[in-house]
């Protein structure tokens, strides 16, 4: 067993191998090549790497132009400065003309840690999900990230890829194909389904064990694609487990919780508990401290879920 790496480091490695197989791969960065892990690609393929300086608006519009020449740009910077800073350029110059640009947002969520709220993008799913044509991908571990990089390179069209900062063990299976839009059921269960994405899938696994101790059986689904959302898997969860919890390192407004809720309310209404950052800005701290503080530690999540189950059981009896 080697040392754990972060999904952004896995991205850097995957880019290297992808770049050696496909000369159309171009990488752009905005003076964060060290932090986003594109540096090695740049050193290996200097003529296919553009460090655009601190000019994100310029970067994303340039990537749009490159893609019209049949190239596949991976336009990379922090989530805040891609989804956030360059929103207009992404919407109007990439998504509207449906261009083949891969938008990579590193440091998504409060797990970004000590840099504080200005750098903890908790709105990227929401911002990117509401743009027509856009695909939104959020892998959970290094293994899945590498597969996701290959899958989105193969896919023709705009994609937003969210990556994170903390080292993560691999929890997905080696032999599992990464199919855009197809969620990955990690454990079956009958009392509720937890849909989680990114770093929170790791928490979901821990929460499952804690719930098990209390005799509660939770199905765990890793939602690596926020858009298109896996409607089929959500409706199976609604009809078979009747209760749904969503778990994300993102504002509870507009992200995974909203995507799942939309499917459920349209098709098969069941109670849903959305767990995430509760519509507040983050702050500086270690990611572990921040998860605890914002109610996203495993104990706190477990308690919230138990409360939700009790409340819904009482209401069900009243009905």
């Amino acid at each position: 067993m080697g040392m754990n790496i972060s999904t952004k480091q896995a991205y850097g490695k995957a880019l290297l191998s992808l770049g050696s197989q496909n000369i159309k791969i171009i990488v752009l960065d905005a003076d964060l090549a060290k932090a986003t892990c594109t540096l090695e690609f740049g050193e290996t393929f200097p003529d296919r790497f553009f460090n655009m300086g601190i000019a994100e608006q310029d970067l994303f519009a340039t990537a749009a132009g490159l893609s019209t020449c049949g190239l596949i740009p991976f336009a990379t910077t922090f989530a805040m400065f891609s989804a956030g800073r360059a929103y207009d350029q992404i919407r109007n110059s990439i998504a509207y003309p449906n261009l083949n640009v891969k938008i990579v947002g590193v440091h998504g969520g409060i797990s970004t840690g000590p840099d504080g709220a200005s750098h903890q993008c908790i709105e990227d799913f929401s911002l990117m999900r509401t743009i027509p044509n856009m695909v939104v991908v959020s892998p959970t571990d290094p293994l899945e990230t590498a597969k996701a990089v290959y899958a989105i390179a193969k896919y023709e069209g705009p994609v937003y890829l969210r990556l994170t900062r903390d080292p993560m063990p691999n929890i997905t299976r080696e032999d599992k194909d990464f199919i855009i839009g197809k969620a990955d059921r990690l454990f079956d269960g009958k009392d509720l389904t937890i849909f989680a994405t990114g770093v929170m899938v790791h928490k979901a696994l821990k929460v499952r064990e804690l719930l098990n101790l209390e005799g509660i059986s939770a199905r765990i689904v890793n939602v690596h694609t926020i858009k298109p959302i896996d409607t089929e898997e959500i409706l199976l969860a609604a009809s078979e487990t009747n209760k749904i919890v969503t778990l994300e390192d993102h504002n509870i407004i507009g992200g995974l919780g909203s995507a799942v809720s939309e499917v459920v309310t349209d098709n098969y209404p069941v109670p849903i508990l959305r767990i995430g950052v509760n519509d507040v800005f983050g702050q500086s701290g270690t990611s572990d401290d921040l998860f605890e503080y914002y109610g996203l530690g495993t104990d706190c999540i477990t308690e919230s879920i138990k409360e939700f189950l009790i409340k819904k059981a009482v209401l069900n009896k009243k009905n």
Partner: protein, 278 residues
């Protein structure tokens, strides 16, 4: 001309500020020493000699404003604000810690911080708004903004440069911390450019180029800026990233990072002076 004694006091303050910068980043185990150290003299001159402020009343509406557009350099302003008693020296020990006052990038909730920054390229537009507001409200306060040289790559800066000229913001003085380095490398290695002063001049600004570590030059440049009417002034401060700590000077690797115990004591030794962090 400033009297030698006055300059001596400022030089001692600069040492104090550098000590706090190094200590708080070491204690937080992360932060941005290079760009904090290059800005020490400019920020020290402003806060101890120039700006009309009241630490007991941080929100006083007639105060001069300071926007640290390159928000990652906040340790420099935290050090000054703590010394001026906007908050306590002990707060410096809690930089970047959960539930504490001093965020990794400036937050508006911190006393003495006039605007949240951190996403580069936005501070000049904000300063313009404050300067324009001052004019609209008939106020005589001054607005100061400190920009990074790498930060000038943001297109929004140049939009704001045009706005400030258009609105005749002579109550605005901008500093460029011209340390020639950014995060991944030297500024020209990422985006080469020529004639920094010429560019601002071409946009109609008054331009003063100085040694940004020389208090006398900083103070006289500000005096000229304040008496320049109808157009805004930019002071291009030639500086050294990591100034004052030999192993950090001109080392892009020290853009971000914290010293270990050994490096910390070497750094404090080189800086000299004393501080109230016990």
């Amino acid at each position: 001309m400033y009297r030698q004694a006055e300059l001596k006091i400022l030089e001692e303050k600069a040492k104090l500020v550098r000590r706090y910068i190094i200590k708080m980043i070491a204690n937080a185990k992360s932060g941005h020493p290079g760009g904090s150290l290059s800005a020490v003299e400019v920020v020290t001159a402003l806060y101890y000699k120039i700006m009309n402020i009241d630490p007991h009343n941080p929100e006083w509406e007639d105060r001069d404003r300071f926007i640290l557009s390159k928000g990652h350099a906040c340790p420099v302003i935290y050090a000054v604000l703590a010394d001026l008693k906007y908050f306590s020296i002990n707060d410096l020990k809690e930089l970047r810690k959960i539930g504490k006052l001093l965020q990794g990038h400036p937050s508006i909730k911190t006393p003495g911080i006039d605007m949240a920054t951190g996403s580069l390229g936005q501070g000049l537009s904000i300063a313009n708004g404050m300067a324009l507001g001052g004019k609209i409200n008939g106020k005589t306060y001054q607005v100061y903004a400190l920009l990074g040289d790498g930060e000038l790559q943001e297109g929004q800066i140049w939009e704001a440069v045009m706005s400030a000229y258009h609105n005749k913001l002579d109550n605005l003085t901008v500093f460029v911390d011209y340390n020639k380095l950014q995060l991944d490398g030297s500024c020209v290695s990422l985006k080469s450019f020529s004639g920094l002063g010429e560019k601002w001049r071409a946009f109609g600004w008054s331009v003063i180029e100085i040694d940004g570590h020389n208090f006398e030059q900083i103070l006289s440049a500000i005096t000229i800026a304040k008496s320049t009417k109808n157009i805004p002034t930019v002071i291009i401060a030639n500086t050294i990233k990591g100034k004052g700590v030999s192993f950090m000077e001109n080392e892009v690797a020290w853009h971000g990072g914290a010293t270990d115990d050994n490096q910390l004591s070497i750094a404090l030794n080189e800086i000299g002076g004393e501080d109230a962090w016990v």
